[in-house]
């Protein structure tokens, strides 16, 4: 227990040293309209691709966004780079709300917020030389004088580990890993403060993945770039990001520092996700690792389940889960979870811990005597949180000076 505490403290100081958040996303929503067929195409529903997501990315830090296909992680990334216009919510980058900017106002911001794409084959124009690809942002944004462009391009190619003399070649002359490096060089050209990396390594061969991950590691350390790292590979995210958010059907179900999230996950989905990853170390034991089996597939985001969206596949689901949506509740210094029965594996509570906060009884019916508390959906972490063991609010200060809790 002591060591765990120490870990958490270490994480905290690391975050503090990372400083103020460079990116703050609050209650971000993206609903894509679903059109009817027929003579007049009415909007008959919405794909709730992203539904009220809040998080922070510290300057020079990294937040991982994991989840399965259709969970909205890529859409979130595209919203932050404004490849889509959000339905509602705020995307505050160094205090400026990107969500409210017009495309023209957005242009100068694009210098600071860049994106790396998954597919190194389709994201580079095959008819342009590498030099043209990497220099185009430099020229568009007037970053360097014309006669310095080539030397800057060569410098960038060298930074990402490519031969600077190859600026005249075309993308098809490079391997997948090298193309991903070209994409990274292009993103770096503008010296961004935030890089949104959408599955940057998943299209690459295993041995090449590590090269690219290490490159991103080095770039972050050298240039202090903050990362929003979107991936389905839990191990890669764990390696890269001190803080990780798990998404399911458009919502964040758990967000925490990585030690907590990977070692003591409290949401049954996070637990299932982690236990589903095949582990090389299992070779020493043989056979399949014991795991939480969750059945079926992710439901359609057009018509998500009522209440908790994970309940249709959740081994713990009870009546309350269908009736009331669990709020994303802070349960630790840097740990939030959206579950009525949060707990470490095998230690989930029998009674919903959220009932009193939500003003409902244990079955989720409105409790006449209850007084619902509005938890809101703030991007960061508060100094006080709901202590699961004590069933009451606790705070960072309460441990050292025990009396002044609450």
């Amino acid at each position: 227990m002591v060591s765990v505490q120490k870990d958490a403290d270490a994480t905290l100081t690391r975050h503090r040293s990372g400083g103020e958040p460079v990116l703050e996303v609050e209650d971000l929503k993206m609903y894509f309209p679903v059109k009817s067929s027929g003579l007049v195409r009415r909007t008959v529903g919405h794909v709730q691709a992203v539904d009220g997501v809040s998080f922070q990315v510290p300057a020079g830090g990294a937040l991982g966004l994991v989840g399965e296909s259709g969970c909205g992680k890529s859409t979130t990334g595209r919203l932050i780079t404004r490849l889509h216009d959000p339905t509602s919510g705020a995307i505050r980058f160094e205090g400026t709300d990107l969500a409210k900017l017009s495309p023209r106002q957005m242009k100068p911001m694009r210098r600071d917020v860049q994106m790396i794409f998954q597919d190194p084959f389709s994201s580079l124009n095959p008819r342009h030389t590498v030099g043209a690809i990497v220099s185009s942002p430099l020229v568009t944004h007037d970053m360097v004088p014309k006669n310095k462009v080539l030397s800057r391009v060569q410098e960038l190619l060298e930074v990402v580990g490519l031969n600077p003399e190859h600026y005249n070649r075309y993308p098809n002359e490079f391997s997948g890993g090298q193309r991903q490096r070209i994409g990274i060089a292009r993103a770096l050209a503008l010296q961004p403060k935030l890089l949104v990396a959408d599955e940057p390594v998943s299209a690459l061969d295993v041995s090449i993945q590590a090269q690219v991950v290490n490159l991103l590691d080095d770039l972050q350390k050298e240039f202090g770039i903050a990362f929003l790292f979107i991936a389905h590979d839990l191990a890669v995210v764990r390696h890269f990001c001190p803080e990780v958010a798990v998404m399911y059907l458009g919502k964040i179900v758990e967000i925490a520092d990585r030690e907590t999230l990977y070692n003591r996950p409290h949401h049954p989905y996070t637990q299932a996700l982690l236990s589903a990853v095949p582990d090389v170390r299992q070779a020493a034991v043989g056979g399949r690792r014991e795991r939480i089996r969750i059945e079926g597939d992710v439901p359609s985001p057009i018509n998500p389940p009522s209440g908790c969206r994970f309940r249709t596949r959740c081994p713990l689901a009870k009546e309350i889960c269908a009736r009331v949506e669990p709020p994303l509740m802070q349960i630790g210094r840097r740990h939030k979870v959206a579950c009525h029965f949060p707990g470490e594996l095998g230690k989930h509570p029998e009674e919903p811990v959220t009932a009193r906060l939500l003003g409902v009884d244990d079955q989720g019916s409105p409790d006449p005597g209850g007084s619902p508390t509005d938890l809101g959906n703030p991007p960061g972490f508060a100094d006080t949180w709901f202590d699961l063991d004590k069933r009451q609010m606790a705070g960072a200060t309460s441990r050292s000076t025990t009396q002044d809790a609450g």
Partner: protein
């Protein structure tokens, strides 16, 4: 080339050689192209016994898919040069007529592919495609029988309401269900050998877990031999009894899974292990990628094909690595574990240089202790 056709090849890995359902010996596959001859597979030998699973690991271009396609004779003979021997249940496949090959395909040996959406015909109903596979090997079966069999198989692989979903088109299935349907199609004629080529690569982890569980359950039920082709060592560790690691068209390491993954002896295998972060490993450990890129199969490197990317090359005296292809031969750990490497003492290098980097928690204590099992092992 004659250097490595030595004594060692046939008797690889398995204890019970000779009894094996699939026996591949000295398989060489070349594709003549406009740019020259592509050496896709070179002198490859392996086997699988009934009820056992062989995992074949390698990156793109390693020849792992090419070699298994050859088992079903799926290469166009006009565009392929194949040598060696492939015996499925005693029957030699190489040189077999198309008509006889057809009797093996989908019948005694079946194959399922990575991308189930692309691998199912978009214009035919799922049930139709399943019953077609059944009818192909049961010419006397009526259309109704074939359909009943299709529904039965869909039910077996866990598709809800199979009698209704049998009439769906593939695009109406979810990714996981499509892969289940592929498996159902592969197993419909009760094959003794099932080759699964990256069966879960395109799937989400929770669905991947379901599919892998399903494959395991079905294997126990049908006692079939399974070859699972993947780049994911985690999948291999949990599914395979034996592992074959391929690089540039050759087997570079071959042995029982537990043995090979706990005491790997070939630097390429080390590279694979160290370039993938572990869900329970040390977060500050740096990944040790394999430098460079996989070699061209048109013009493979001289000597050991891995030598241009091998960081342990300097530990081999002289220029052996660049001039001579090492034999696939037993290392220091007995005849069941073959490796293609000139390193004299790989075990020591692994224990002192590799393991501390990739799994410091395992390095000091007993090497193969199952104590390394993941923290979240309950439930």
């Amino acid at each position: 080339m004659s250097t490595d056709t030595g004594v060692t090849t046939g008797a690889a890995g398995a204890a019970a050689a000779g009894e094996r359902l699939l026996e591949v010996e000295h398989l060489t596959v070349k594709f003549p192209t406009a740019d020259g001859l592509v050496n896709a597979v070179t002198d490859l030998s392996y086997g699988v016994a009934r009820g056992k699973t062989l995992g074949i690991v390698g990156e793109s271009g390693s020849g792992k898919s090419v070699s298994s396609m050859a088992v079903l004779g799926l290469h166009d003979p006009r565009r392929t040069r194949i040598e060696g021997s492939i015996r499925v249940d005693g029957q030699e496949v190489i040189g077999l007529s198309e008509a006889k090959l057809r009797r093996i395909r989908g019948n005694s040996a079946a194959m399922i592919f990575q991308d189930a959406l692309a691998s199912l015909h978009p214009f035919y109903r799922v049930g139709k495609q399943l019953s077609e596979a059944y009818a192909a090997h049961h010419p006397k079966a009526s259309a109704r029988d074939a359909r009943r069999k299709a529904i039965e198989m869909l039910d077996l692989v866990g598709i809800p309401q199979p009698d209704r979903r049998v009439d769906d088109f593939p695009h109406q299935f979810s990714g996981g269900m499509r892969q289940r349907a592929m498996i159902a199609m592969g197993l419909i004629n009760d094959p003794s050998l099932l080759i699964a080529d990256e069966p879960t690569t395109a799937l989400d982890v929770t669905v991947q877990a379901q599919i892998l569980d399903l494959l395991g359950d079905l294997q126990r039920e049908f006692d079939s031999a399974i070859i699972i082709i993947t780049h994911d060592l985690g999948v291999i560790a949990e599914m395979a009894d034996e592992v074959l690691v391929m690089y540039a068209g050759r087997a570079v390491e071959y042995g029982a899974t537990r043995e090979l993954l706990t005491h790997p002896e070939m630097p390429y295998t080390w590279g694979l292990l160290s370039s993938v972060p572990d869900v329970s490993g040390d977060v500050d450990a740096r990944l040790l990628p394999i430098p460079g890129n996989p070699p061209s199969l048109l013009d493979p490197p001289s000597g050991c094909s891995f030598h241009p990317r091998c960081v342990h090359r300097d530990k081999v005296p002289g220029d052996l690595c660049t001039t001579t292809i090492p034999d696939l031969s037993p290392g220091g750990r007995g005849p069941g574990h073959l490796k293609r490497c000139h390193l004299a003492d790989p075990e020591r290098i692994y224990a002192t240089e590799i393991l501390p980097e990739i799994a410091p928690d395992l390095a000091d204590g007993a090497p193969a202790a199952p104590a390394a099992a993941p923290t979240n092992k309950e439930a």
